[in-house]
């Protein structure tokens, strides 16, 4: 009798626990999809402004040898005028924009792009734009210097907005 009672209790509690797990997952998924759609745009392991990537990870980033292009100097024929040449340090999709930084999802993980007074914003055709012109979801190429010792944080010299993929 007592054994049956315990069994019933344990099944009820376990069932409630299972239900709670499924509800929490469904609710979370619903909230997320409502906000970001069926994309991975909102998935940042350390979170917006998360501190872990800046303090806990090793310095895996490095300057592209030679650094970004010299500003205000003539350019090669290949890139449009005003654009830095060479491979960007980070290419990714903007997850969030703050006055001092941009969160971007790159193919190698989330990155925090630190903005300074010297950071220049450009369209791919070389036209100058401002931070206000950038929007969440834009794809950007960033030229700059890795800081923070972890490869997750980049001080931007140039941010080039790339055209959306067709």
């Amino acid at each position: 009798m007592a054994a049956n009672r315990w069994k019933l209790i344990s099944l009820s509690v376990g069932g409630a626990l299972l239900l709670l797990m499924l509800l929490a997952s469904s609710f979370s998924l619903g909230v997320y999809v409502g906000e970001h759609g069926w994309t991975r745009d909102g998935l940042s392991y350390s979170g917006p402004g998360g501190k872990a990537d800046a303090n806990n990870r090793p310095p895996q980033g490095g300057n592209a040898p030679g650094g970004p292009a010299l500003s205000g100097t003539p350019q090669m024929p290949q890139p449009p005028m005003g654009l830095p040449s060479g491979r960007p340090n980070v290419t990714g999709r903007i997850l969030g924009i703050q006055p001092q930084s941009i969160q971007a999802a790159s193919s190698t993980g989330p990155r925090r792009i630190v903005l300074t007074a010297e950071t220049r914003f450009l369209e791919q055709d070389g036209r100058a734009i401002t931070l206000k012109d950038l929007q969440k979801g834009d794809v950007i190429a960033v030229y700059g210097v890795f800081i923070g010792g972890d490869g997750g944080e980049l001080r931007a010299d140039f941010i080039v907005r790339l055209p959306p993929k067709e």
């Binding site: 054994a3 315990w6 344990s10 099944l11 376990g14 069932g15 626990l17 299972l18 797990m21 929490a24 997952s25 609710f27 979370s28 991975r40 909102g42 998935l43 392991y45 979170g47 998360g50 501190k51 872990a52 990537d53 303090n55 806990n56 990870r57 090793p58 310095p59 895996q60 980033g61 490095g62 300057n63 592209a64 040898p65 030679g66 650094g67 292009a69 010299l70 100097t73 003539p74 090669m76 024929p77 290949q78 890139p79 449009p80 654009l83 830095p84 040449s85 060479g86 491979r87 340090n89 190698t108 993980g109 210097v145 890795f146 800081i147 923070g148 010792g149 972890d150 997750g152 790339l162």
Partner: protein, 685 residues
């Protein structure tokens, strides 16, 4: 466990180990942020970063000293492979123990083997089994602890309880977050002792059917279990005495701040470590955090695996309630803690949860098999003549296990790290090109171990000073009179744990790249450019007063003209260093980026003038028509197959097709020495 089950557990172990061995990282890599440190510390029996990982260190010591294969880093990588395979086999073992016996043995084995292999070949678990890291050994630690607990549940012998508690205490030396499993373990032990919820033990227990023990007897059992468990656990945890004993070996600035020399220090180094990463998110962020976990779970097992796991959870509750509380208790603590953890490499922290989910999948597979069995039984009952069910069963079982080939196939290319030789190739090149008695400035602490490894393990180039190796605050006097060099990562570490002390490099040095390592490839972690810089007070000799290139090129690149180049002998051992010098005639001082290539492989990218042209022009006149030179060395990756390759240079730019390649010559790559042997030769051992 029967003999066939032992054989199958061994088969799971060998299958996983074979795959891991084929894809194993050959030596150091940047796949793990702490990998170089975790490859070095065990060999020298030092103290790793928080929380210290004593058991990991000791196991690594055994592997690095007893396994006569490869270099030390390879042996530590191999330890992860063995431990990962052990964990996968352990999952089979556990499932065979806890799956209901209402289906034939062959099907039970299928239901146990499939999730074990799915785990072994899942994305994150597999990747962590290939590098020097704590997560695969910790997976083995968790599985061994569970096996010990289940053994005690079956035998109820005190010695088995003691062994379980000891295993649990020891597992904390592999990852201290395992402590979160304690409530689930205690609940399970209480459920067993007071026989509140049934498990298979009741049926197997010879005393079943006899009169149940009185409550006072159960209480006495509980007290004896508690005391014995505490002693076993305390003995396991006693490994952390290692921390104060070895604290003098710490060289990381952040770790030294919470050095485990006092009780408070030990707490801060272990349970109190990284406080800003724990519970780092507000309640409103939890839905998004949970979705991150669900996404990671989807990456491991796919939607079918998630569905099977949910079915398995229901099955577990209905058929094995006691195990439901054990596994779900462990699982929920893990999820609750780590969805609120703020870390760049969050995926690896969920590995214990993925192990438990594999067991849920096992129960899900069991339910499918059980349902099919019922259907077949009914079909047989209504059939006119008996059907030959045995061969069909065997074939179906094998086909079901072959589902594990899906993640094996899908994850192979992403997890094949066997070609990741970039770090060792780079440092082999660094030790080759550094002049005698030079000083190599590296990141400090945990993040400098890619360089420290060589001197700590092999005493490589003892004449070269690594100023950050003894500690994070060397004096500038230590560098006096030495030729200064630095790795690229040092130059970017202006803040954070790997940063240099403020007073070490105070002069406005010219930072001249002299050696380029393999270019970053996204498939190999978050590595960026590998480069060795020469730091000089005086401007480098960029300007060529009387240019006499060895080979003429006279190729026009718009603002500059490539006059010609010098090239070291064009027959080269893979992994070796090719030196090159380009002569450029400037039409104007401008920014031109070029890349050199060997066949289809980009060896390096740099700005003409090695990125120093602007500063050089400010320091002195650089009129149009001036000739400058870029002189540097290049690593030919040791994974380059032998053969003749075109050596070319071309402009590179964003948003446009790279310019036409200029053919410079043909380089014959040979491989006569062998990669590992070459590394060991350069290491000096």
């Amino acid at each position: 466990m029967t003999r066939p089950d032992r054989f199958l557990a061994l088969a799971v172990f060998l299958a996983a180990l074979t795959v891991y061995a084929l894809t194993l990282t050959p030596s150091l890599s940047y796949l793990s942020p702490d990998g170089s440190e975790l490859a070095t510390i065990p060999y020298v029996l030092g103290l790793a970063h928080s929380p210290g990982y004593p058991l990991y260190t000791w196991l690594g010591f055994l592997f690095s000293h007893l396994i006569p294969l490869g270099d030390v880093a390879y042996r530590i990588n191999l330890m992860s492979a063995v431990m990962g395979a052990l964990a996968a086999a352990g999952v089979y073992w556990i499932l065979i123990r806890i799956l209901p016996e209402s289906i034939p043995p062959l099907w039970r084995r299928t239901a146990a083997a499939l999730p074990a292999l799915l785990l072994a070949f899942s994305k994150t678990f597999w990747a962590q089994s290939l590098i020097a890291e704590v997560y695969a050994p910790n997976a083995a630690g968790i599985v061994i602890t569970l096996i010990a607990l289940l053994r005690w549940e079956r035998t109820r012998r005190r010695v088995d309880l003691f062994l379980f508690a000891l295993a649990f205490g020891l597992s904390l030396g592999l990852h201290i977050s395992d402590l979160g499993f304690a409530p689930a373990f205690i609940l399970f032990i209480l459920l067993c002792l007071f026989e509140l919820v049934g498990g298979p033990a009741a049926a197997a227990d010879p005393s079943a059917g006899t009169k149940p023990a009185p409550f006072s007897g159960k209480l006495r059992s509980f007290l004896s279990v508690a005391i014995l468990g505490f002693i076993g656990f305390a003995l396991g945890v006693a490994q952390f005495v290692w921390l104060p004993l070895q604290s003098s070996t710490l060289i990381d600035r952040a770790m030294l701040r919470s050095a485990p020399t006092t009780l408070e220090g030990i707490y801060n180094y272990t349970l109190g470590a990284f406080p800003n990463f724990k519970f780092a998110f507000p309640l409103t962020a939890l839905p998004d955090r949970l979705v991150i976990y669900l996404d990671l779970l989807n990456q491991q097992y796919g939607l079918i695996g998630i569905g099977l796991g949910i079915a398995g959870l229901i099955s577990l509750l209905a058929r094995r309630t006691r195990y439901f509380y054990l596994l779900v208790g462990m699982y929920l603590v893990e999820i609750w803690f780590f969805i609120q953890y703020s870390a760049f490499d969050l995926d690896v922290f969920f590995i214990p949860a993925h192990i438990i989910w594999a067991m849920f999948i096992g129960f899900g597979v069991f339910e499918i098999i059980h349902a099919l069995q019922v259907i077949f039984s009914r079909m047989r009952a209504t059939a006119d003549r008996p059907c030959k069910i045995k061969p069909i069963t065997v074939i179906a079982g094998i086909i079901m296990i072959l589902f594990a080939a899906v993640p094996l196939h899908n994850n192979w290319s992403a997890n094949d790290f066997s070609q990741d030789t970039a770090v060792n190739d780079f440092y082999a090149g660094v030790w080759s090109v550094l002049p005698g008695n030079a000083a190599l400035v590296t990141p400090s602490g945990v993040f400098g171990y890619d360089a420290f490894y060589w001197q700590l393990v092999y005493d490589t180039r003892a004449d070269v000073l690594l100023p950050l190796r003894p500690g994070p605050n060397p004096s500038a006097q230590a560098l006096a009179g030495r030729d200064l060099f630095a790795t690229t990562r040092t130059m970017t570490g202006n803040a954070g744990p790997g940063a240099l002390p403020a007073g070490l490099l105070t002069r406005n040095y010219w930072t001249v790249p002299v050696l380029f390592g393999q270019q970053p490839e996204e498939s190999f972690g978050r590595r960026e450019a590998l480069a060795l810089y020469h730091l000089s007070v005086d401007p480098p000799p960029l300007l060529e007063a009387d240019p006499k290139p060895q080979f003429l090129a006279e190729a026009d690149l718009g603002p500059v003209q490539l006059l010609g180049f010098d090239l070291s002998p064009q027959r080269i051992e893979s992994g070796d260093v090719l030196t090159v010098k380009f002569y450029w005639r400037l039409k104007t001082v401008t920014s031109v980026r070029v890349e050199t290539r060997l066949g289809n492989l980009t060896l390096e990218q740099h700005e003409i003038g090695l990125g120093l042209l602007g500063r050089f022009a400010q320091a002195g006149p650089l009129p149009p028509g001036s000739v400058i030179s870029d002189s540097f060395a290049l690593i030919i990756p040791s994974v380059t197959p032998p053969g003749a390759y075109a050596f070319t240079i071309r402009p590179s730019g964003i948003g446009s097709t790279p310019g036409t390649a200029i053919h410079l010559g043909t380089v014959d790559v040979i491989n006569e020495i062998g990669t590992m042997e070459r590394w060991l030769q350069i290491a000096g051992s």
